[in-house]
C-alpha cells in the first residue's frame, strides 16, 4: 500500500510553464506595484545587439554586445537596485528612438536619462557631451572646458571611455583636436560607423 501511494505521488500531474506569459505578467504587476526598479531588454542594431536598461527615472545604461551581460547586471544590481527584470514593454520607447536614429529618421533623442551610474567630473563631461548635436563633433579639450576644466582633456577622455549610455549620450562625437578618432569603449569600428552615419567621419 505504501509503495502504491508513493508511486502515485511520484507521478504528480505536470504542466508546461509558459515563461513568456510569466514574464509579461510579472513585469506588469511589478510595474504597477512600483517594484520594478530596473527593466532591461535586447535591441537589434546595425552595430550589434544592444541591451538597454531603463529605470522609472530614465535610460540608465546601454550595453554593447562585447560587454559580458552578467558583469553589467551585477554592477546595476549593486549600484542601483537588485530589483531587475527583463521587461521589453518598459524599454519600448528607447527601442523606438534607437531604431529611428539608425534609420536616419531621428537626429535627437528625447529620452529622459537616469545619471545614477556617473558621478563627479565624469557626470559633468557626459552632460556636456549629451548636448553635442547630431552631425557635429568636439575635441576632448573642448568638452573638458565646457565641464569646467579646460586642461583636463585626458580626464575627459577617461570619463567618455566609461560612458554608461553610449549612442544616446554621444561620446562618439568627441575626437582628438587634430581630427584623430581617439578612443571608444565600444571599439573604433563602432565609432567610425556612428560618425559615418551622421556624415561627420573625419577624412584624413
Amino acid at each position: 500500500m505504501t509503495t502504491d501511494l508513493e508511486h502515485q505521488l511520484r507521478n504528480a500531474p505536470a504542466a508546461e510553464l509558459d515563461r513568456g506569459a510569466l514574464a509579461a505578467a510579472l513585469a506588469k504587476r511589478a510595474g504597477k506595484a512600483s517594484l520594478l526598479d530596473v527593466a532591461f531588454a535586447e535591441i537589434d542594431s546595425p552595430i550589434g545587439e544592444l541591451i538597454v536598461f531603463v529605470t522609472p527615472r530614465g535610460l540608465l545604461r546601454v550595453k554593447y554586445a562585447d560587454e559580458p551581460i552578467e558583469g553589467v547586471l551585477a554592477e546595476v544590481a549593486t549600484r542601483v537596485s537588485p530589483r531587475i527584470l527583463r521587461a521589453p514593454s518598459r524599454t519600448d520607447e528607447a527601442r523606438r528612438q534607437l531604431e529611428g536614429y539608425f534609420g536616419l529618421r531621428r537626429r535627437t533623442f528625447s529620452l529622459p536619462i537616469d545619471w545614477s551610474l556617473v558621478h563627479g567630473f565624469a557626470a559633468g563631461v557626459l552632460r556636456q557631451t549629451a548636448r553635442i548635436p547630431f552631425g557635429d563633433v568636439r575635441s576632448y579639450g573642448q568638452v573638458a572646458a565646457k565641464a569646467g576644466s579646460p586642461r583636463a582633456a585626458r580626464a575627459a577622455g577617461n570619463a567618455l571611455g566609461s560612458n554608461p549610455i553610449p549612442i544616446v549620450v554621444p561620446c562618439h562625437r568627441v575626437l582628438h583636436a587634430d581630427g584623430g578618432l581617439g578612443g571608444y569603449s565600444g571599439g573604433l569600428d563602432r565609432k567610425r560607423y556612428l560618425l559615418a552615419l551622421e556624415g561627420s567621419l573625419p577624412v584624413r
Partner: protein
C-alpha cells in the same frame, strides 16, 4: 551585500517552483501562485540581509502562497450554498482516484505537503528536502512520514 539581479532568480528557479506549485495546488492555481511568489519575493528582495540559499527562501514563499490558495478554496467552498456549481468549478473534468489523492495532499498541513512534494515529486533525499525547506534532515523525514500517514488514513476512508 551582493544580491544577484532578480531576473536570474526567475531564470534559474521558475520551472522548478512551477512544478512544486502544480503538485501543491493544481495546474489552474499554480500560475497565479507562481506570480504571487515572485512578486512577494521581489517586494522583500532588497531588504534581505544575505544572498545565501535564495532557493530555499523562494520555496518558503511558494509554500505560503500554496497554503493561501488552498485556504481560499476552502473558504469559497464553505460559504458556497449551491454546491453543484462549485463542484463544476473546482473539479477537473474527470475525477479519478488520482484527483482524490491530490485533493487530499492539498488538505495537508503546509510543511507536510511541501515535504511530500520535495521528497516524491522531485525525488530528493531527506537531506535535500530539508535544505530546500530550510529545516533539518530529521524534521524533513518527520514531515514526510506524518504526511504519508495522514494521506493513507484519508485514502482508506
Amino acid at each position: 551585500m551582493r544580491l544577484p539581479p532578480f531576473q536570474r532568480l526567475i531564470d534559474n528557479h521558475a520551472a522548478e517552483l512551477h512544478r512544486f506549485l502544480v503538485a501543491s495546488v493544481g495546474v489552474v492555481d499554480a500560475e497565479d501562485c507562481l506570480q504571487d511568489t515572485f512578486l512577494s519575493a521581489l517586494r522583500a528582495y532588497p531588504r534581505l540581509r544575505h544572498g545565501d540559499n535564495l532557493r530555499a527562501w523562494l520555496y518558503t514563499i511558494a509554500q505560503r502562497k500554496a497554503t493561501d490558495a488552498v485556504r481560499a478554496h476552502q473558504r469559497h467552498r464553505a460559504t458556497d450554498l449551491d454546491g453543484v456549481a462549485e463542484d463544476r468549478l473546482a473539479s477537473p473534468p474527470h475525477r479519478s482516484a488520482d484527483d482524490e489523492l491530490w485533493t487530499s495532499v492539498r488538505g495537508l498541513p503546509a510543511k507536510q505537503r511541501a515535504a511530500l512534494v520535495h521528497r516524491f515529486v522531485f525525488d530528493l533525499a531527506y537531506r535535500d528536502v530539508g535544505e530546500r525547506m530550510g529545516i533539518s534532515e530529521e524534521a524533513a523525514r518527520q514531515n514526510v512520514s506524518a504526511g504519508l500517514r495522514r494521506l493513507r488514513m484519508e485514502v482508506d476512508r
